[in-house]
Symmetry: C2
Subunit: 320 residues, 2 copies
């Protein structure tokens, strides 16, 4: 790419530093020094324009989101962010776009102490692949396969906001800036994930929506669940813009919130509430793990409810 | 992506295994257990159709090359391949294409004991980003900044073949299958890189061509070099298809060979030859590190020679 080395130099000049980065951007590979006794958590996500974010998304928001969705995966594993790589495919060597993108990407990296240690820039249709590497003391990662019948099911924060913002954008009608902000600037719940080490039994981040993501936990753990729709935490803004059946659909079926969903024995509830209160992040019990298979949603009247299958097409691609 | 989970399942079913993979594809992040006393080498490369390989490249060759260029970076660091992630953006969920791609990718992964531990599949214009993670005992990595005046400059194998294959493809005239094979199926010199631990003082892989890549070593080390064109190792096939000035241009300016270029004190020459002979891989001294800056090529008659600036446009993007 013409100007490629200039782009790389721009990235290198702004990449964060850590003592455990033996060699950063600029050789054939980065050299990193993982601390003894830790496991390395690795997550990889690609963002494509028009698939993972609306075409009118600001470059700084794209940069933020490209890292946020990956940090959210580390949060869901209770891993502390350490390093990352950034592979940028861009139609042309647009330095202004790159600078704005890096503003969003690196501000979030700095906030979480993540050092950008490598990457690649190529010319082509825009695609952004980020790999992040986190550290977790051996055996303490939060996996999907630890949920047991009788445990509580929790979610952090409020859910449905990002889906509401996307639904409004798609409808081209009145739109809430607050909802759109949740879509464009998701907050990865990194500190919450770290606080849940030793408390939660299983966890996942809500990228594809509660029904889909909790479904992965249930399948991995070999259990089922019942969720009470009346308990799903909704922001005031979401409640103002969407009435009840529509709101449930956004909360249960919509993705992109990047809150954490986790399970824990009821005996841990007080400690969890204390830990989340210390982070100023509400967490809510929304249901219960049950024996058997399947995920059932109950209305406040106790009736079974099913998310509309075609009610919402999320922007977050699934990932391995 | 429609069928995305089916694609991921196809990848997961075929990913290799290693004892140090605590948790592979299928959770929010992979969990890996780096051995104590080692540094982690991380490399990231993106391949885009029409930029990094000809449009008519077979899917299995693309899969091979996507991993090979990354393994080559680990080789250049003297790191042993361990794990990798694969981010695939594809225009549609084409299972036949994916199966062929994985044939090439995973055969090479298995050959080098690399386990695929994560990734992402998204819909969009084709782009492939691979991250590889290698292990090297702390302090033993081969970096770019260790070359010292008076040392020999070596290259492994033969160089110029891939550039010759690309030049023939571009000219749409008679083409050698052997040269094209070197372009499509580069062999990462992983074992050579490992054998050079403690022997070489600096190293790089030849992706962008000898002039450009050796230039990076010289800049990082703060030295210059003189290369004798008459010593550049050429395959019989290259010599049959390209006469001398054209061949030099391919060998000095052309990329995509993925041989190693490294420096070493003359006192190590015998050990290096022994080590390379044990791998059945020729290595050749092509010049010498000198004090000062700049890279000079000498013809067999001792005249200074400059690679034609526009003689060759390589397919390998640079990378950070």
């Amino acid at each position: 790419m013409p100007g490629e080395f200039a782009l790389i130099e721009r990235i290198r000049a702004r990449a964060g530093r850590r003592d455990d980065v033996v060699l950063g951007i600029g050789d054939d590979a980065a050299l990193l020094a993982p601390p003894p006794g830790h496991e390395l958590a690795v997550s990889c996500d690609t963002l494509v324009a028009g698939v993972h974010f609306p075409d009118d998304t600001a470059p700084a928001d794209i940069g933020h989101k490209a890292l946020a969705v990956n940090l959210s995966d580390l949060a869901a594993m209770a891993a502390a962010p350490a390093w990352g790589t950034l592979a940028l495919t861009l139609p042309d060597a647009n330095q202004a776009w790159l600078d704005d993108f890096l503003d969003g990407f690196l501000a979030l990296a700095d906030e979480h102490g993540l050092a950008l240690v490598g990457g690649d820039t190529t010319r082509g249709p825009m695609a952004i692949t980020v790999n992040v590497f986190g550290l977790v003391p051996a055996g303490q990662a939060l996996r999907r396969d630890g949920a047991r019948p009788g445990e509580d099911i929790w979610v952090t924060g409020t859910i449905g906001d990002a889906a509401g913002g996307l639904a409004q954008w798609r409808a081209r009608g009145p739109a809430s800036a607050k909802l759109r902000h949740r879509l464009d600037r998701p907050t990865p719940r990194v500190q919450a994930g770290l606080a849940l080490r030793g408390l939660a039994s299983a966890g996942i981040d809500l990228s594809d929506g509660l029904a889909a993501d909790l479904g992965h936990v249930l399948a991995a753990s070999g259990v089922g669940a019942r969720i009470e729709l009346g308990r799903l935490p909704a922001s005031r803004t979401l409640a103002d813009h969407f009435d009840e059946p529509r709101r449930w659909a956004l909360q249960a079926g919509g993705g992109d919130d990047y809150e954490l969903c986790f399970t824990a024995p009821a005996s841990r509830a007080f400690e969890i509430e204390q830990a989340m209160a210390a982070l100023d992040l509400p967490a809510t019990v929304v249901g219960r793990v049950v024996a058997g298979a399947g995920l059932r949603f109950d209305t406040p009247e106790g009736e079974a409810w099913t998310p509309p299958a075609d009610g919402y097409q999320h922007f977050s691609g699934g990932h391995a």
